[in-house]
Amino acid sequence: MFLRMITKTLIRQKSKMIMIAFTVVLGVSLSTAMMNVMLGVGDKVNRELKVYGANITVRHKDAALMSDLYGLEGQGVNDKFLREDDVLKLKSIFWGFNILDFAPILEGRANLNGSEVSIIGTWPEKHATLPTGEELHTGLKSLRTWWEISGEWLNEDDNNSVMIGNLLASQKNIHVNDTVTIDGKTFNVKGIFNDGGNDDSKVLMTLPSAQKLLNLNGRVSDIEVSALTTPDNDLARKAAQDPRSLSPEEYETWYCTAYVSAICHQIQEVIEDGVAKPVRQVAESEGTILNKTTLLMILITILSSIGSALAISNLITASVIERSQELGLLKALGAYNWQIVLLVLAEVMITGIAGGVVGYFMGIGFAQIIGQTVFGSYIEIARMVILIVAVILFLVTLIGSIPAIRYLMALKPTEVLHGK
């Protein structure tokens, strides 16, 4: 009989139950979408922040810094080099999957049309197949997203072409498709780039050309690496000072978390004589932005979840109170309070579950719309959201029914029947 009454109410009170279910659908979809976005936003924003370029540089451990800030000559010339053969090993480290882009750099000086300039040899693009079978596509082009190019980027094997920084180009009155002579060898100017920084007075060429010009076969001076990292915490800072100061458990945690210091540590393990250092300007700042963005999303998620929870509980209260007459009748017919309460709860729960399931899938849809629109990629679905939303929904329906239940308890059957 109990089941019969529930089914009858669900069917007969269709419009009201549909309304509750509808609100549950909305509320659940909102929370699901927001939680998935919140959990996914770190990864997405992290990838977006890669436009700032490399956050790790690798150098020979004895190499002195080339102090060339604002074109001022510093002391010391770099005469220690890394091996080009080691560069691809970067992808083989524990966090290799987090290394999104990298490019070797060979810097030196050469004579361009009669005056000495800085030249950079690099992989403009690099396509290779790793021993693991993974296809690799990287290169400096992905690390210089902010460059404004007139003409074109160099290709992987454009060994007879160069790109020239716009300051140098205007100084020397060089245009795209001109021919320049560098250390006696002629190159075609394929593009002119605007970096807005130091590189504007440099010449960019492929690594083999530079190695030949500088007579440094198989050598690179540093490697720029762009990696997805986890913002630093106390453990990471402690480890950055000296990994040996960590306890074995701490070391385990640190090594298996994508902290920039952990990734640097692992890079050093594969690059012979290499020292990997975080570029603090990028590494530190992206941590700041990531933390702020995530916190912002968390707060918005909490607000909207509270909002939808209140809305659902509110509507349940409203609709149960509205049915007080009918429920009072049941009371007059001799139903115990708990029987009525159970009836109401069962109805609301069934409606809530139905709405919740639909809402969950709608919410995933919303999350994907947001992911596609904003970041152009899918947001990973976090399974724990199901659990969180289910628990919240259960509590919300329960809490929403409380005022109505209290009202029912206090209700005298006579009041109902004599219609106030």
Binding site: K16, M19, T23, L26, G27, S29, L30, M34, V37, V45, E48, L49, V51, Y52, G53, I56, T57, A64, L65, S67, L69, Y70, L72, G74, Q75, T145, W146, D195, G196, V279, R280, Q281, A283, E284, S285, T288, I289, K292, T293, L296, M297, L299, I300, L303, S304, G307, S308, A311, N314, L315, A318, S319, I321, E322, F366, I369, I370, T373, V374, F375
Partner: protein
Amino acid sequence: MANNTEKRNRHGSRRKMYIRMVAGSLIRRASRLIIAVLAIAIGATILSGLVTIYYDIPEQLGREFRSYGANLIVLPRGESKITRETLQKLRGLIGDEKIVGMAPYRYQTVKINEQPYIIAGTDLTEAEKNSPFWYVEGSWGNSADVSQVMTGHEIAQTLGLKLGDTFMVQGVKYGHHAEASRQDLSAEENQKRDSARQNFHRNFTVKGIVSTGGAEEGFIFADIDMLDELIGDTFRADVIECSIVADAEELSALSERIENEIPELMPRAVRRLTQSQDIVLGKLQALVLLVTVVVLIITMISVYTTMTAMIAERRREIALKKALGAENRLVMGELLGEGVMLGFIGGALGVFLGFEFALRVSLNVFGRGINFQPVLIPATIAIFIIITVTASIIPVRRVMDIHPAIVLKGE
């Protein structure tokens, strides 16, 4: 005349009854209306809170992006250097509220242990604001104690310097040229020559060691005024690094203004930062916008459904009023009045809760207050009045078509 007065009285009396009915409905049904007011207030809180955050995000996050450091480098045009007057002029032109940090730099080659190094004289307080990403072991120097300086990590390593160590810097005063050590003189004689009038030397203590992972690790950072005095010159900066709250477009407009009004300067936006900031900030803004829109749509629909549920329980009352001879438009008028009042109360409550919420978020996330858009107050209230009124009238319209006869027998 008498007729007119009577008419006016009649109107007054009708209006009084109208107010009495609406007020009666609102006050005496208070316990039930709390549900409606709560629903509206939640909606209004979310609306005003999110919209406030959305409006403030570019500004707030823009400031966060300044943690990437200087985004505008100002160089002197030609061979001249930047004077203090020009620096002040530049500061005035950009405006203090836009400037996060603005540090002039003067680079001077000096010798330590007969090896050449570069000492960068700057306004250390401003440099600190410019460079939140620097990791400084020890602490930042300041203009109060000029003999305490910061050295780059590279230099510290090469020279074997630790915090608190003292080292001596030697160099040639401004306007003089260093003479090479002459082979024919003894070391003692050479040293003597160096300490003559055109040379300087001074001892410094290491107060901080700077790690950045970049070129900064190869410099010594000291107070610019001290450096000027040491080399016997007035203020002349090689470059000014500015960290300015602005996107790429604003920054290029600003550069143009600087070029026009202070022709001796050559501003260059750091494309790496400006372009990237535009891309990332654009995405973040789009994210918050989309989230705001989704949340708002869903919230408004749920406010609407709650209102609809609330109004459904009044079917019978409406039918009764019709049975008593009320015209549709009168019944509508009463519901409208109630809707307006509910929307107003809930909306007003929500606006202030929303502002409070936005402020909390801003303080938590950005550690700063937030700018409220006063226009949100009337806008939010108006939106929720519209929602409540629509939510009251649309379901009631259907009731209107129902015969007043439903009051006859309890349904």
